[in-house]
Amino acid sequence: MESRTAQPYWNPYLAGFGLGLVLLASFVVMGRGLGASGAFASTITAGLNVVAPAHVANNPAFAEYLKDGTSPLKDWLVFEVLGVFVGGFLSGMLAHRVARTVEKGPHITTSRRLIFAFIGGVLMGVGAKLARGCTSGQALTGGALLNAGSWAFMIMVFVGAYALAYVMRRQWT
């Protein structure tokens, strides 16, 4: 697989059109949009609920993901995100783009890149919880539904990223 050269990515407008049709299908079939961060929260809640059920029950930030009589993992977004893994892998495999590698610019060491990746993930988790959704659930879904809060969120995502871009340039350029 690694011996074959990776195919170039699609034209972004074509990929965006496909993504838009998937989002539209979700609206029409389910009456809801896409998401990602909610599945992470459900997974954590399921794990915590095994080790410290009282702690989960007493904390609204986790308790909202509990389900009556069934696991927090039996959840729409959890199944959707499982599909994202499968779809991403299929697309990557068909285009010979599956590779065990670290994506980074040429001027940063792998260990530093991984430290930044972890910090970035922590910020993502906190930001997505505070905003009640991430780029999928707020920006894409709410964007298409003309949700006022989602548009405010989306603008601030770009503001935050561009604000730190100069500081982070050694990692990427």
């Binding site: 965006g16 496909g18 609206f27 904390n59 986790f62 959707e80 980074k104 989602s150």
Partner: protein, 199 residues
């Protein structure tokens, strides 16, 4: 009106989970096709060398927005049954700012991190763990931030409601803005490519 199918009782919760999995496959497939399993492609947005994050996002938003609008106009889709997240303006803006910072520091967002993990990216796997840590951390400090989290509640609020303009006018404005943005993005990319050749 016949859609949303699920809300009209065409199928139940369990089949809904199968639908979720199928929709997720499509979502992941197109994210990977777009180049979003690759942190360098994503981060390039913030250095103006490859603006595909903007292009893909806004093509998807415009496509779904137009689809929803016309299906509602022709009486196929009942838009009032499509779930709209309530707006809490300040926490959403603060969350967006933090998430945006995380985007350029880490290189992926939660959805694209899953695609990165699925295609073997080790940086995406580390970021994936970071998201869990962040959500767990938020839960632990929740009592301290719960007041802010619940502040500026505005209910389910759309841009047509905010502006008082008809839905179709806002749809048209978003399409125009996106087309202008695409033209601008192409121009910026060409300028950056020319500059990088000179440098």
């Amino acid at each position: 009106m016949i859609a949303p199918f699920f809300k009209y009782g065409l199928f139940g919760d369990n089949l809904g989970l199968v639908v979720a999995f199928a929709i997720g496959i499509g979502f992941g497939f197109f994210l990977e096709r777009a180049g979003f399993g690759n942190a360098r492609k994503l981060a390039a947005q913030f250095y103006f060398t490859d603006l595909r994050v903007f292009k893909v996002m806004f093509t998807a938003i415009v496509t779904a927005m137009l689809g929803v609008y016309y299906l509602a106009v022709f009486g196929v889709l009942d838009l009032s049954l499509v779930y709209l997240t309530p707006t809490f303006l300040l926490p959403q803006m603060a969350g967006g700012l933090i998430l945006g910072m995380g985007f350029v520091v880490g290189g992926y967002c939660p959805g694209t991190a899953c695609v990165g993990v699925a295609t073997g990216r080790i940086d995406a796997m580390v970021l994936f763990l970071g998201i869990f840590a962040g959500i767990f951390g938020f839960g632990e400090i929740y009592p301290l931030v719960s007041t802010f989290y619940a502040s500026t509640p505005m209910g389910q609020l759309t841009l047509p409601q905010v502006t008082g303009l008809p839905y179709g006018v806002i749809v048209f404005a978003v399409v125009l803005m996106a087309l202008g943005g695409f033209a601008g993005a192409e121009w910026v990319e060409k300028r950056m490519a020319a500059r990088n050749v000179e440098a």
